[in-house]
Symmetry: C2
Subunit: 226 residues, 2 copies
């Protein structure tokens, strides 16, 4: 009685076909300009079918965005194998975030809508919960790493790992958002290169969070990288 299972597989396949088509169109046009008709055509399905699998345009949008989260999570994990020294893992995590931005800028751009309170209201509670769960896992990696740094007395003992994680993430996120918006704007108007600004910011914050032992190791690490 493998029929039910085959059907299940086929259904999953359809969901995937739809997401692939949606990804293509959302990447090209962005949320407001992409149309469900276009997506349906790209998926070689009728529009009605799209709504059998996803409740709304916004839900479908989030489903695509979550693929990006998956990729990001994998990149985070891959960039920080436990055999590396902890401080190295922390700096490499920052680099991995930047790599994600460069390699998957379209995904990165998608998240912006998720940060908009008005967009939130358009999304089904189920999809929202699913995102939250995904998010949680990624935060776990970052926070765990900082906790490790504290345990090894590389980072200040009175540091709150969650707080530190949010601070580091905020810097990268905000900077990359501006790079995406218009890198040239900043170059021309303020004569500033955003990539080096971001590195400077990371460095300032990290050093501020470190113990003396941490700082010493960090200096060595930086020298090695030249």
């Amino acid at each position: 009685m493998g029929i039910l299972e085959r059907k299940e597989r086929e259904k999953e396949q359809r969901r995937d076909d739809i997401i692939c088509a949606a990804q293509k169109i959302f990447f090209e046009k962005g949320l407001p300009s992409a149309t469900m008709d276009e997506i349906a055509e790209a998926a070689e399905l009728s529009k009605g079918t799209l709504y059998l699998y996803y409740k709304s345009k916004e839900d479908l949008y989030l489903a695509v965005a979550m693929r990006g989260s998956e990729i990001m999570y994998q990149m985070f994990v891959d960039a920080t194998p436990p055999e590396k020294p902890t401080l190295r893992r922390i700096t490499d995590l920052g680099d991995a975030y930047y790599e994600f931005f460069k390699q998957h800028r379209d995904f990165f751009r998608m998240y912006q809508y998720f940060e908009n309170p008005h967009f939130h209201k358009q999304v089904s509670p189920e999809m929202f919960a699913s995102c939250k769960c995904n998010d949680q896992r990624t935060w776990g990696v970052v926070i765990g790493l900082i906790q490790q740094g504290i345990n090894e007395k590389l980072l200040d003992a009175d540091l709150d790992p969650s707080q530190a994680a949010i601070i580091l993430w905020s810097i990268g996120n905000s900077m990359m958002r501006q790079m995406d918006r218009d890198d040239n704007y900043w170059k021309e108007q303020l004569k500033v290169d955003l990539e080096s600004t971001m590195r400077k910011a990371y460095q300032l914050v990290l050093e501020g969070m470190m113990t003396e032992k941490g700082k010493a190791q960090y200096q060595q690490l930086m020298l090695l990288q030249e």
Copy 2:
């Protein structure tokens, strides 16, 4: 021959009526859910008239947002009179940004669309240029203040003022964006209070940028504030 001038004034008045109505509706609904018909009704004008004064919904949206920029600029200037000590002016500038967020959250929220590359393309070049000009002026305040700090040997001499300004602004911006998105999400999921996280971040970065002289003054300032 005051007729032309009166007409000019009346035209300005209409532009203002429209912005006021648009502000009300955009605040309530956000960009995608607000409709031009609603705005027209609130302005007691027909929709066609709206388009005599603004090229598109997006242009009108930006016109409203620029009012917020004006308020923010004024708050920045008011919070940093030259008679205050420079370090105090710098910390007060950060506080002023946070005050703006708390008092005019609806305006703050509006800027999000401006950070979206796809939204950019919907806006007329004239309106875009107007925004840029407005922006420039505000950056001038922040960068000037940091330059002053460097001149007074409170901040590191090798610091690039534009870079430093972007770093400080990024932190505030990113944190407040998250507070706006859903303050409780962070409290519940990560047990973190975003306001204190933001203060911690500002402190880390500022101290990282300071000379020894600056740090000494900063400590005193902090003690005074308790």
